[in-house]
Subunit: 396 residues, 2 copies
């Protein structure tokens, strides 16, 4: 029986490497016990939410007696929360963002799919640097969009702006960037961003149908050694920012994020209305209200970043001790090291034999590398050291 559509059948067959590792990991954990498996496959924030979260939930418990406490809210989000985010972005992005230029979404993922639905015609192209977050292709593909990943510069993982410009065609609708980057942990400097902004401006000078520059930034809060994550909205009138509270507040399961447009974008309010509408018609309806209220109350809070910083150092030591080459991540919670021997599949298989779970780089569009999430307890990092040494030795 043909139960599912051909497009989705194909997506299922190409089931993501992250998911495959997840399932291999479950099997290993059953066999050897969870404490003997070192799982770096998932980017699931594991630091407790800010201490104030409990008090916020208690306050919501009081409000639960009121009739509309958790009823529908406007598709674009709670008005006070949109205002609060506009205020936060005005300070952070150095442009005056108004509430009408912000839509609250079901996480960054919901922001991207709602945005793609609003702007993409079938056949439109989305350009992004590779390696990249693997779902981007599916997000735009639902609506006939085609992802065109452009190899990043190595070993810095910085976007190759010249190659991206060459790849632009009449059908290019979006340039999508992600900094701090998943999977590489690199942060794009102001100079690179400015070049991307100028690229977009050059293209739009002769266009009736604008090219958008979208920055997906769930990891903006997480940069190390004083690295600066420059604002993106000022780069172009057609710049948009996608943010999320999944990682900054450890609320990944509650699904709250947002999308904001440069206030000088022509028809910014029209575009944002369209995104609010597609957010409704895609079935999100509105971002979860409890999550919205939590995030609104926690806007000045954050998880303890020093925990991630210490883990990064511990992970770097494990890799260095195993003789594995890597670029030190400046942000997010991922390493994207070179696979010893050059074959990422062979190396992640070798790691599996030592109960270490990592995701092969081909899962992110760049074979020869592998991804480690260091959003794990310190004992997982230190416990994996022998496995990395042994697996790397097997590759020689």
């Amino acid at each position: 029986m043909q139960m599912i559509s051909s497009a989705v059948q194909k997506q299922m067959e190409g089931a993501s490497w992250i998911r495959q590792m997840f399932e291999r990991g479950l099997e290993l954990k059953r066999r050897f016990g969870a404490e003997n498996v070192f799982d770096f496959s998932l980017g699931n924030p594991d630091i407790p939410p800010p201490p104030k979260t409990g008090a916020m939930l208690s306050a919501l418990a009081e409000q639960a007696k009121s009739p509309m406490a958790f009823g529908y809210c406007p598709n674009a989000g709670l008005p006070a929360f949109r205002e609060a985010i506009a205020g936060m972005l005005t300070r952070q992005q150095e442009v005056a963002v108004a509430a009408t230029e912000v839509v609250i979404t079901c996480g960054a993922a919901g922001a991207l799919t709602s945005f793609f639905r609003a702007v993409i015609e079938p056949g439109d192209e989305v350009i992004c640097p590779a390696p990249y977050f693997v779902e981007y292709g599916t997000y735009c593909g639902h609506f006939g969009g085609v992802l065109k990943p452009i190899p990043a510069l190595l070993p810095s993982f910085q976007p190759d702006v010249d190659a991206m410009e060459k790849a632009v065609t009449d059908r290019t609708r979006v340039i999508l960037i992600n900094s701090p980057n998943n999977p590489t942990g690199c942060v794009y400097p102001q100079e690179t961003l400015a070049r991307l902004g100028r690229l977009v401006e050059r293209v739009n000078a002769t266009r009736e149908r604008p090219l958008f520059l979208v920055s997906d930034e769930p990891y903006r809060f997480l940069a190390y050694d004083g690295a600066v994550v420059p604002p993106v909205l000022p780069l172009s009138p057609f710049a948009l920012l996608v943010g999320s509270f999944s990682k900054s507040l450890s609320l990944a399961g509650e699904r709250v994020g947002y999308i904001a447009a440069n206030p000088s974008m022509p028809d910014a309010a029209l575009l944002m209305s369209a995104v609010a509408m597609t957010s409704r018609t895609l079935g999100f309806v509105n971002a979860p209200v409890i999550g919205q209220r939590l995030a609104m109350g926690l806007l000045e809070e954050g998880v303890d970043l020093s925990i991630y910083a210490r883990r990064r150092d511990a992970m770097a030591k494990v890799l260095a001790d195993a003789g594995i080459a890597f670029t030190m991540p400046q942000g997010a919670f991922y390493f994207f090291p070179e696979a010893p021997g050059g074959d990422d599949l062979a190396f992640t298989e070798a790691l599996l034999r030592h109960n270490v779970l990592a995701v092969p780089g081909r899962g992110f569009g760049l074979p020869g590398y592998f991804r480690l999430s260091f959003s794990v307890e310190n004992k997982v990092i230190t416990g994996s050291a022998a496995g990395f040494v042994a697996a790397a030795a097997e590759m020689r």
Copy 2:
């Protein structure tokens, strides 16, 4: 500038009548004060959540100290919650539903879009009785599906099964029903459902690509005068049920629902895996975890239904006193009366002149009628009486 795609542009121009009424209502409330406007336009449950909700939130406040309290959960939902829903459905639907046949979704809307994404090829048709919930067309249209509404029988609003069968083609992928119904409040009896089940079986006897029977049931809990809402999963191996906690627990803004398949469906687990995957790739990722935990703890609870029953009676009296013809709703919280004079637009405009907000039937695919939501305080119903009388008189 062409900011948005042509398909979405078209959707925005046809902005829903519900939304237009909402905006007209805001204007009236500004001018005359909210207490002088009688708003029956929105189906927003306004009864407080069950009393236990506050205690559940307080318990969650305790758990907020734990690292993964609100982290990602499996795309298909919290395993314990899937189990609990499977148990609930096994009792309610009289078939043995397993957790693998249930996917937790972002409300009923998220269930429908994820399901449509999983099964629809461009050009596939979705048949539903008219009048119908207006977003159905957009839900399947995102993925190239085409809604084919078939006029219901009048004045009962029961589905015209013969006409639906005649409308089936090789491209018909889904028959979508909704009982208790929005906008009519009618409940489909066992005999009608059985005929729909046999229709689906006849079609599937010669098909490699099955026709699905999907019942959208956010109002299952809300039937009056002892009306029975029969189970739908036993109707066909290809039957699916879509449910929600939005109305039964007054949690509409928190977005928790589910989809469940008849356990005897061939490849039910494959289809449910596909729905879990499309739910992830459409950007839902997972239904909000706080909402999932609340609903799991409130599975045996419900809002006070007697409040809705009293309102139904009060609304019926207002309509009868104004000489407006209607079929008494057996479920949900809507009346779908005939527009005095026969023109639903003219009559809802007349109502507006008396500060009464209702939605014209054409917004649901049936001109000549109008929808009233009685999910409003009693004083709104009684306060509107003079307006209904006056507006109806103007039509004579």
